[in-house]
């Protein structure tokens, strides 16, 4: 099997490398990919949409439909993870032993017997997949997480003018919550942002995107034709396009953030949401 795979792979690679002989050289200014539609985007992005970051203007305006359905794909991925993994009954943990920690000394006691129930202030129940308590990591993360989130909001809000946008900002926001779940534990993260909130948020992001599109329809434009928003906003149509893009990016960021967290908590805890990494 491995030899067959190796032969297939080498043949495939040889054919592809042979095909590169017709490719343009790396960094060639007149390569075919840069001749047709991209000069138009570069020339007219600022004039038509008032957004200097061409990547954002192409993403949210010229190719708005594409991005809307990409967002839907991400939403569906989060939904699929939830439906595949989530377990709601809590009658698990029959075969595992129970651990108690004596808080003053830090000694951990294991009980194979499940009827043990210590109700003492000096003892606390801990999970068998217990992650050791680490003061340095917890403190550093507690200080760092707000800054990560502010940076994420900056990336989302400033996506029109500098590198950034909804996808990147959403991933950074999601990563800050995942960092909380890793450095403290999963329960802390779920207390901060509950499962229900996450589900609603992931749907709200797609709703904002499609809602802005439908708003343009109501204002007698095409779907996602942000210029028509000028009828309800006190700005000219070109500026309205930039505002429409910002709204769409916020929707994307909310969905991406929620889906990243949903995927993480479901995989890390195998769908139980009790205890995980």
């Amino acid at each position: 099997m491995k030899k067959v795979a190796l032969i297939v792979v080498i043949l495939c690679g040889a054919i592809l490398i042979h095909a590169t002989s017709e490719f343009p050289k790396w960094g060639e200014i007149n390569s075919p990919a840069s001749l047709h539609v991209s000069p138009y985007y570069i020339k007219y992005s600022v004039e038509q949409t008032d957004v200097p970051n061409i990547v954002t203007s192409v993403l949210a305006d010229y190719r708005g439909f594409d991005t809307m359905f990409e967002t839907t794909v991400i939403f569906c991925a989060g939904l699929a993870c939830f439906l595949l993994l989530r377990i709601f009954n809590d009658k698990e943990e029959e075969t595992e032993s129970i651990f108690y920690r004596h808080i003053p000394s830090g000694i951990i006691i294991e009980f194979k017997n499940h009827e043990v129930d210590i109700r003492d202030e000096d003892f606390e129940l801990i999970d068998s997949k217990f992650v050791p308590y680490d003061l340095i990591i917890k403190t550093v993360c507690r200080i760092l997480i707000p800054f990560i989130q502010i940076f994420a909001l900056y990336v989302v809000a400033h996506g029109d003018f500098s590198p950034g946008g909804g996808f990147q900002g959403g991933v950074i926001l999601g990563a800050s919550i995942i960092l909380l779940a890793i450095s403290f534990n999963l329960k802390t993260a779920i207390e901060k942002i509950s499962e229900k909130t996450l589900g609603v948020l992931s749907a709200i992001g797609v709703f904002i995107y499609a809602g802005i599109g439908c708003l343009c329809l109501i204002l007698k434009g095409h779907f996602l034709d942000y210029g028509k928003l000028a009828k309800i906003l006190p700005i000219d149509p070109v500026k309205a396009r930039a505002i429409g893009m910002l709204g769409v990016e916020i929707g994307v960021a909310i969905t991406v953030m929620a889906v990243m967290i949903i995927i993480y908590i479901n995989i890390a805890s195998q769908g139980k949401h009790q205890e995980g990494l």
């Binding site: 060639e28 200014i29 990919a33 600022v46 990547v55 192409v58 594409d66 989060g78 993870c81 995989i267």
Partner: protein, 134 residues
Amino acid sequence: MELLIKEIIGKYNYWLYIILMMIGLYAIIAKNNLIKKLVGMNIFQTAIILFYISIGYKKGGTLPIIEIPHGHHTISPESIDISKYINPLPHVLMLTAIVVSVATFGVALAIALKIYKEYNTLEEDEIRMRLRGK
């Protein structure tokens, strides 16, 4: 000989991506463990993403954010030098592709987790044996 060196300098990036892609393809075909297959799939995707990004590169070009001169709010299309900015389209396509690949990787891991719970293994041949009813 000089022609060959020119060819190598002009195309070596594509060759590297093809090698990376073939590493991923080999992992998908030959590896027995499902997680290793998934990692191979991710390497494959990375190769495609790098390939697209390198197609959009222009020598001497900077990132595709239009520089508006100080004191101005806009810039006329005639005064923009196209060769100064790299092609934005591959960046847009790959920006969404990266996030979607993370999301699909999450779904793939979820399915792998389900398979592990059902069969207690992630080795492909063992799963096939169980499926045949052994």
